[in-house]
Subunit: 355 residues, 2 copies
């Protein structure tokens, strides 16, 4: 439970993106440089592909190590710390890292329209939309557990894959070929298969309200992701670190409110850092870095790549857990991994055929 909470809250805030709509249409400014800031305007196709690969790989590795840290922390005992304070620290760390990267850019290139921190109300006004969607989704999360248990919820969460694909198509108006659609359905089926365990069949007994909530949650989550991509892509030349900075500032505010509303008495009594351990620190660091990686993937790739990346990460985690924790892989895992692998292959074939 706590894990999902920290994870969803985290993703939540990553989608609080900077609105740069008001700057849209402005000519690209600043001389070409090697900095990522002007990526997409001066870099060649090959370099773009390189950056896309690096951020995707980073997201995959960070997401898979995230899950491993969770297993590690579970082995170490129950979560003793306050999840809301940890989430707040994750946002603060992301904010600090974005500022550090920006400072470096300013030193190298000077301040330009694309990398200046200042923003306008026009820009900021669409920020809360993805955040609001996530808030509703997180509220629904508490109610859905009246209908499904936690492992069942994990299974239903794979509906996110399908909803992301559909909303990506509708909102961003980007066409997926028929093979890519087939690949996407396979990705969803493969991930679910890989997570099957002897008690998974319970999920089929989910009552209708549970199904409706699961579908609504998948749509909210998919919509938030795709909407964030839409906002972030509206001006490709805008420095990603500025976009991230505003995103994470909002994340800090939302999480500060969460501390007050949910955990105030406990934090006041036991202290902010009560129960923090080495694992907690590693998890905060990991969440911060993978949050930044998600933003980068949104900027330089898209939601489809993000979904593939996190799905493959899930499989990687399981394989690594065999060596680290002596886990046994199930036949369902092998079958699901095969289907996911074929899906990745078909996705790339479909991409080539569309060109």
């Amino acid at each position: 439970m706590e894990y999902r909470k920290i994870k969803d809250q985290d993703k939540d805030d990553e989608r609080l993106q900077d609105d740069i709509e008001s700057l849209h249409g402005k000519p690209l400014s600043g001389a070409p440089s090697n900095n990522m800031v002007v990526l997409g305007s001066s870099f060649s196709e090959r370099s773009k592909w390189k950056v896309k690969s690096i951020v995707t790989l980073a997201l995959t590795l960070l997401t898979s190590s995230q899950a491993i840290l969770i297993v590690w922390s579970k082995r170490a005992g129950k979560y003793e710390y306050s999840v809301t304070t940890a989430n707040f620290l994750v946002e603060t760390l992301k904010c600090a890292l974005s500022l550090a990267a920006l400072a470096r850019t300013w030193r190298n290139e000077g301040v330009t329209d694309d990398n200046r921190l200042s923003t306008t109300l026009d820009e900021v006004i669409v920020y809360p939309i993805p955040a609001a969607l996530y808030l509703v989704k997180n509220l629904l999360q508490y109610y859905i557990f009246a209908y499904v248990d936690a492992p069942g919820y994990q299974i239903l969460k794979n509906l996110n894959i399908i909803s992301t694909g559909i909303l990506y198509h509708i909102i961003l108006k980007k066409k997926l070929g028929e093979i890519q659609w087939a690949a996407f359905i396979l990705l969803c089926a493969g991930c679910t298969t890989a997570q099957l365990n002897p008690s998974s069949d319970h999920v089929l007994q989910t009552p209708v309200p549970g199904w409706i909530m699961a579908i609504v949650m998948a749509l909210l989550s998919g919509f938030a992701g795709v909407y964030t991509e839409a906002i972030i892509k509206k001006r490709p030349s805008r420095n990603i670190n500025v976009q991230n900075f505003w995103l994470y500032i909002f994340g800090m505010i939302f999480n500060a409110i969460a501390i007050v509303v949910q955990d105030f008495s406990a934090v006041a009594k036991k202290g902010f850092f009560h129960g923090y351990s080495l694992v907690t620190v590693c998890m905060i660091l990991n969440h911060a870095l993978s949050g930044i990686a998600v933003s980068m993937v949104m900027k330089y790739a898209d939601n489809i790549v993000k979904v593939y990346s996190t799905s493959v990460a899930m499989l990687l985690t399981a394989v690594v857990s065999v060596f680290l924790f002596g886990y046994h892989l199930s036949l369902a895992f092998f079958l699901g991994s095969t289907v996911v692998s074929v899906s990745v292959y078909l996705h790339s074939i479909g991409k080539l055929q569309k060109k």
Copy 2:
């Protein structure tokens, strides 16, 4: 156990095909007619497609009702009859049906080189090859149960799908496109997923000799199927009923030997028809008809179509069993069915793209 025996023996004999190599190269004889005999020479592409669809549909429906009859007979109690005598009767019935169809052809068209029953030693000599492969496979079947249980064996049997694809490519030199290969791997993964149950993981503990035997058996079975197609396709104008007649005559001989070797004392003591019931008669009828359908699919379509057809039949059976026997479908079944459906779709896309 008994079920697999009757089923494998059945398939076995269908592959004992008539060798018509000696007639190869002869010009097509006989005036065009509406009879299936000259299909492929006078029929249009559309009619060919129609016949292909009909035989494929017939195979799918017969195979799925086959499994339903088996459930029915299991519910009715244990098999009381001798499986070898039932197999012998299946071959006899197929032989009789082929002769009846031939008699009708002779009446309508007269006797031609393509539909005459007489054959030469040159033709007959390659018959025993698929049969020999199946004999080895059936012998191995008894040994493999030292390493895996019956449900595990059902799971491993899905390796047949992959072996058929590989050998189809190697022996018949027909190319499958990259999407069709992907679809074939998905078919194997999807069928296996649909069959998963809480105890399926045992199969992963299969010791190395068990795996080797499973792979060898899959190769033998795939080779027998593909080799039969090669023989039967060598002369497209040869009447399928003649090819079937010789096939089933050999089937009768092999099964007569099996009665003597395996069941002689029991049959001599209790009688040939001991333990036969209405279900037994239905099963024999069904096996005979689906045996003929397999031959037809080999003649007018190919092994790939056969594999898809029997895989879809497996899913159909499960769905029908819900209504007939109140079975519950597992989540694994839904996921596997989704993967198989996407596989069928991709196979057809791949086919169109190759044209």
